[in-house]
Amino acid sequence: MSFMSNSKNFTERFGPIQLDVLKEIGNIGSGHAATSLSKLLHKKIEMHVPGVEVVDFDQVMDLAGGADKEVVSIFQRMEGEAPGTMFFIMAPFQARHFVELMTNASVGFDGGSEMALSALQELGNILSGAYLTALCDFTELDIQSTVPSISQDMVGAILSMGLIELSQVSDAAIVIKTSLTDGEGGEGEFLEGHFFLFPDPSSYQKIFSSLGVREDD
């Protein structure tokens, strides 16, 4: 049975079992990412229980604070057997905080100094590397990520890049979202970032079949 020829709507084809599988992927991936980040920052980083939701495109933007909200994002494409798009999204002051912790300096993220940009790229590589290692171990699929691309702009302008592939088959998206925070949580001191994973539509079948889950289960 070919994926695209199924008569059901794209998102109607995901039942509780499929969503649980995706949630488990979010769980394992962000668990690894939190561990790597803790080592990098010498700080305890906690991962929150991931959410997997089927929502329309406007609600995707709302999950990240609204289409208008200004954020710093690290964007990477996943390439290989199950392509997709990943974003790590932070408020600008959080990005500054991450950079300061990583570089032990107050370099800031004003217009993106070289130092700040490469620190954020490194952050992206560590997070996506951890995530992808978990995903590849779990599914035995071969997936690599591209060089991270950093941008400070509106949520809508950024996340819509993750919806382009999907929008050709659906008006709704499956969002795998996990949040990372540090366990300490002092006023204005806490770290927080949100990881969004959008597999390309064609990737779902590969992910599910690699795990022995049938699509119409």
Partner: protein, 165 residues
């Protein structure tokens, strides 16, 4: 009594029309293109938030028509005419179509902003609708708001403030 205008918000891949004194807005355009078609005599305007250049890209039937340049423009024209606009008076303003990320792998998806702009312009040209103003391309996101009373299109960008075209 002075009638206060409302702001009608258009979501991603959606469209709508307003009559003065209402305003119409869409937020966070990146590679997407925000198009406004308006009839300044009737003070009517329609806006669409376009994600993809053409409906033939759809790999499935029955998806929202307003997310493709060709069907969005077709439906906007029909809705405006239905509300009393004259098609020969319609004019257009557009904004968006940025390239949000620079990539070495030049996949078609990464060029989606410029492709959306080309598609919108091509469709408007074949319908003989003049483009009165545009702010397209570049590398940053935009939030736009149109006032059918003044035909001003307000554009807000992160770090670059506001402009009016």
């Amino acid at each position: 009594m002075i009638k206060e205008g409302q702001i009608v918000r258009i979501g991603i891949g959606d469209m709508g029309i307003v009559h003065s004194p209402d305003l119409i807005r869409t937020s966070g355009l990146g590679s997407c293109v925000g198009i406004v078609l308006y009839d300044e005599v009737k003070k009517l305007a329609g806006m669409a938030h376009i994600m993809l250049p053409e409906s033939s890209l759809a790999k499935k039937q029955g998806l929202k028509r307003a997310k493709y340049a060709d069907t969005a423009i077709e439906d906007l024209m029909a809705a405006l005419k239905g509300a009393g606009a004259s098609s020969y008076r319609l004019k257009a303003k557009l904004a968006g179509g940025a390239q949000m990320f620079q990539f070495t792998s030049s996949s078609d998806m990464m060029r989606i902003g410029p492709r959306n702009v080309e598609a919108v312009k091509g469709n408007l040209q074949s319908l003989h609708i003049p483009i009165l103003a545009e702010d397209v391309g570049g590398g940053c996101g935009r939030t736009i708001e149109f006032n059918p009373e003044t035909t001003d299109l307000h554009i807000r960008k992160v770090n670059q403030g506001e402009s009016v075209i």
